[in-house]
């Protein structure tokens, strides 16, 4: 990863196009292990995506009339959006309640969230059967205003705009557009507030999508409070991803990170771990309350009951304690492990709602297992997102300091 280019002088569209094309060129070594692994995946994935559009969903997925949503909705979209929750949580901590400490990770978290929405929520276009109609709820063919999905669709779209605005000053710095940067920066607080309201609603809205699957989702998972659970879990899901991504990026983009940030880094991770622990314990407590309230004891000593316990004890309560212990002893590897477990727990939780605990009583041969093609396409989406993320980090001030002119001291 090389030096950042000098601030360009962009006066007209031609300058911009020229600058942009120059910036498109890759930086640094081409044959890194990451590139060597992801490039073939993306090539294969691209072929499979074309095949999916030409031959229909059944040709590449194992979806059925019994299990209409699979890996793409369950992991890419629903888990992906929960993982992107870090964007609104960090924005809240930094811009709303003045958490100065976290300022240095704000841009990275917001960029991750923005790209996650573009690629993971955007990945929904692969899964909707009649994808050419995807703009219908936006253009009013027709407005299904009473539908939860309508709200989720609009909020995805609007949040993309809000997160884009939150990140846009960094892009303006990269382009050297001083006036534009000023305007965009003045919109940040508004965008953050709007973004948090949108996130609250669509994170919980994703849970509300399943509310009419009553009687199909196993009683251990179905409750009228699914939206609340989805919202709360998006907080620690998002923060775990921030921890995980920060720990990795701290190594990968080492030379971009200045001394000051490097010193404050363990502190930030420990604090994030603490927040995770508190929210996770609250979530666990809620889960227990709902369990007792719904009188779910009889289900516990069944295979689905053991599966439920694995999720709720093994992948919520245990990582919660790991966060506590890791924060007390300032043990960063332990916090990283805790965040990994938490992320797996969130994946399990979301997949349960979509196809594991959903229609759990259907015979084994009717059950859904993703095809290898579904996995390859999922990995393709992740790879493309990471490539774009790296591209942005290497060009814009995400981890590094912004250019001098953008810093106005008072």
């Amino acid at each position: 990863m090389s030096e950042i280019s000098a601030t360009p002088e962009i006066k007209n569209v031609r300058d911009f196009v020229r600058f942009f094309i120059r910036e498109l060129k890759p930086r640094g070594k081409i044959f890194t292990p990451f590139n060597v692994i992801t490039a073939p995946i993306m090539l294969l994935g691209l072929v499979l995506i074309v095949y999916r559009f030409a031959a229909g969903l059944g040709a590449v997925t194992n979806l059925s009339q019994e299990i209409p949503w699979g890996l793409w909705i369950g992991f890419d979209v629903i888990t992906g959006v929960a993982f992107a929750g870090g964007g609104y949580v960090v924005a809240f901590m930094v811009y709303i309640i003045g958490g100065e400490k976290y300022h240095s990770i704000a841009r990275a978290a917001i960029l991750s969230a923005f790209l996650a929405y573009v690629f993971y929520a955007g990945g929904i276009i692969l899964d909707v059967g009649r994808w050419w109609n995807i703009v219908n709820p936006m253009i009013g063919r027709e407005f299904g205003v009473n539908a939860v999905m309508f709200l989720v669709a609009w909020h995805f779209f609007l949040y993309m705009v809000a997160a884009g605005l939150e990140f846009s000053p960094a892009a303006a710095e990269w382009l050297g557009m001083k006036r534009l940067r000023k305007i965009l920066a003045s919109l940040t607080l508004g965008a953050v507030i709007f973004g948090i309201a949108l996130s609250t609603l669509h994170q919980s809205g994703l849970g509300a999508l399943m509310s009419m699957a009553k009687g199909k989702i196993h009683p251990l998972w179905y409750t009228e409070f699914i939206p609340v659970l989805f919202f709360i879990s998006s907080v620690f899901a998002g923060l775990s991803v921030v921890i995980f991504k920060e720990m990795i990026c701290h190594k990968v983009f080492k030379e971009q990170i200045d001394e000051e940030h490097r010193k404050s880094f363990p502190d930030i991770i420990v604090s994030l771990g603490k927040i995770c622990a508190v929210v996770m314990f609250g979530y666990f407590f809620l889960k227990v309350m709902m369990f007792v309230h719904d009188r779910n004891w009889p289900y516990l000593n069944t295979p689905m009951g053991y599966w439920y316990l694995t999720e709720i004890i093994g992948l919520v309560l245990i990582p919660c304690f790991m966060f506590v212990h890791g924060a007390q002893t300032r043990n960063l590897p332990l916090i990283l492990t805790a965040s990994t477990f938490t992320m797996i727990g969130i994946i399990m939780n979301r997949l349960n709602y979509v196809f594991i605990a959903y229609n759990w009583q259907i015979p084994v041969f009717e059950k859904y297992y993703p095809t290898w093609m579904e996995f390859v396409i999922t990995l393709t989406i992740i790879s493309v997102e990471l490539w774009v993320y790296r591209w942005c980090v290497n060009r814009m001030a995400v981890f590094r300091k912004p250019p001098e002119w953008a810093i106005e001291k008072h």
Partner: protein, 305 residues
Amino acid sequence: MDRRRFLQIMGSALAGATGGTLLTPRTSKAQEASKHREFYGILVDTTRCIGCRRCEKACAEVNNLPIPDISEQTNETVLQNIRKTTDTQYTVINPYDTEKGKIFVPKRCMHCNQPGCAAACLVKAMKKRKEGHVTWELNCMGCRLCMISCPFDIPKFEYDKAIPLIQKCNLCYGRFLKGLAPGCVEACPAEALMFGTRRKLIEEGKRRIAQNPGKYVHHIYGENEVAGTSHLYLSAVPFEQIGFRMDLGTTPYPEYSTGFLYAVPFIFVLWPIIMLGMSRMTKKGGAEEHKEATGHGEEKKQGKG
């Protein structure tokens, strides 16, 4: 407060307000319709069904689906298993071994008074017509939430097509508009199916039960299940024995999502106000100052006072 700051606040308040009104759930079409209109439907008397599968054939003919073979030999093998409706079969006859011997039960879309599928649809492609039919239209984007939201597992998706459709019984809406009864009803040789307004069908069902109290269980399936359906069933044996779910309750399915929908306008209005307040309260160095999206903590920008 300077002008820019004012505009910012107004901007978020306005966005909240418009979002709120746009998304405020109103009484759903289905609810209105159920109050003022007569829904049409079909009364299915399972004590009369002889399992000839002529309704299946008629349904296929009317809807341009692959015509099933309903010769006696085929019927014998086909009527061994419990089948589901598919994307090429809107209606199927299923055999059940009960305490009163073998009973045949036609299965198809129940045409709920307040359908979950229609409430789930973000483009109103799935619609409850004022005449009672639940129909599907081409503006659908294929998200398949209707399949997840249907308590009877009725909407089917064409997975094998590049241009797929959602397929299900539409109570022969096209024929209805021309003044014709549904294909299956016309084809039934045993008068097991009866087409009419829901009110009349319930009256007729109750009349049959009253006249033959020993023959029927005293329940019309679909009168109150999921707040009522346009397909109504009579049975000689408890409905569990002939493949009906008795755990669905009488709550209309759309109501399961209204709790969330009611919260939407509140959050959209309250959140921005609370957030602004919090941001004001936690701000150091006076109200004129605000931070912006720079990567580092030490830079602060003076608002133009």
